[in-house]
Amino acid sequence: MPNPLVLKLEQRDRLSDDEKRVLESAISRVRVVEADEDIVHEGETPSESSLLLDGFAARYKIFSNGRRQITAIHVAGDFVDLHSFLLKTMDHGVLALTPCRVAVVPHAALEKITADHPHLTRLLWLNTLIDGAIHREWLTAMGRLSATAHMAHFICELFLRLETVGRTDGATIHLPLTQAELGDTLGLSTVHVNRVLQELRKEGLIRWQGDALTILDWERLEKVGEFTPTYLNLQHEHR
């Protein structure tokens, strides 16, 4: 199976065989992180970055009263702390929500890429720009969408991101997130998460059984969530 980061980048631009080789050889090892364990801790100064190969991870901050806000959900192909290469100290943690397989890329290897491969460097830059675009979109959704619209928006986004890395099965995605995790992601109580999911089910927009989430009516789900995928920058262009 191709490296999901390669799939993610190839959706947006052409990668040469040499560039794919360089990305592959930048990986020093693969580690497995169990569910509910940190991939990277807040306050840590990593000397390597983590590329998610399998599983779901979350960026998060915890407040003194124990409340948690998840600021990003990461899927296969996401370079969860690429920014630690330049920002050095982590100002938040990254948590495995499910068992995760993580490719470890030493910062020294990233430095070599930036020295020798300008196009690949731009694509890694693009990767962090897309992370930034997603953060902007989430901030807007959090501040201005109703709970139901926000959930619909989240589902649309996640579906497209998983589709890019070949992790969809028809209209179905495997989404093993708990109500509490969804609540921490969307800034909702568990009760509201259940209510909005019930609403989306009742309207015939989704079906969610176990871990399998099926989108039954993409057009209406997009409309309810006021979802426009421009910010995901999915088009293939020279960059």
Partner: protein
């Protein structure tokens, strides 16, 4: 003023319209001030919550009972526990959450 005396709490039955329809609820007053609105929710609405059982959900809270001031979860097994929480919040005011 919070923290000066035990607040005089009174309850008023209401029906609360939320996503999913009409719910049995209570307005909670401290003296003449509305401080919280609780709705009785089903186990289904609390699925994935800490208890996973039905109970009284803090639909809206004001001042020290504000939603952002609460610990998770904001579902209490009984109305008595919900009111005990309101009293505690009013006593501690904004100092701690």
């Amino acid at each position: 003023m919070p923290g000066q005396s035990t607040p005089n709490i009174s309850l008023q039955p209401v029906s609360v319209m939320s996503d999913g329809g009409s719910h049995e609820g209570r307005l909670v007053f401290s003296g003449s001030d509305l401080v919280a609105v609780f709705a009785k929710i089903s186990a289904e609405e609390n699925a994935g919550g800490r208890s996973g059982r039905g109970g009284w959900f803090l639909e809206a809270g004001f001042g020290p009972c504000g939603i952002l001031m609460t610990h998770q979860p904001s579902v209490f097994p009984t109305l008595e526990e919900a009111i005990a929480w309101v009293r505690e919040r009013l006593k501690s005011g904004l100092a701690s959450s």
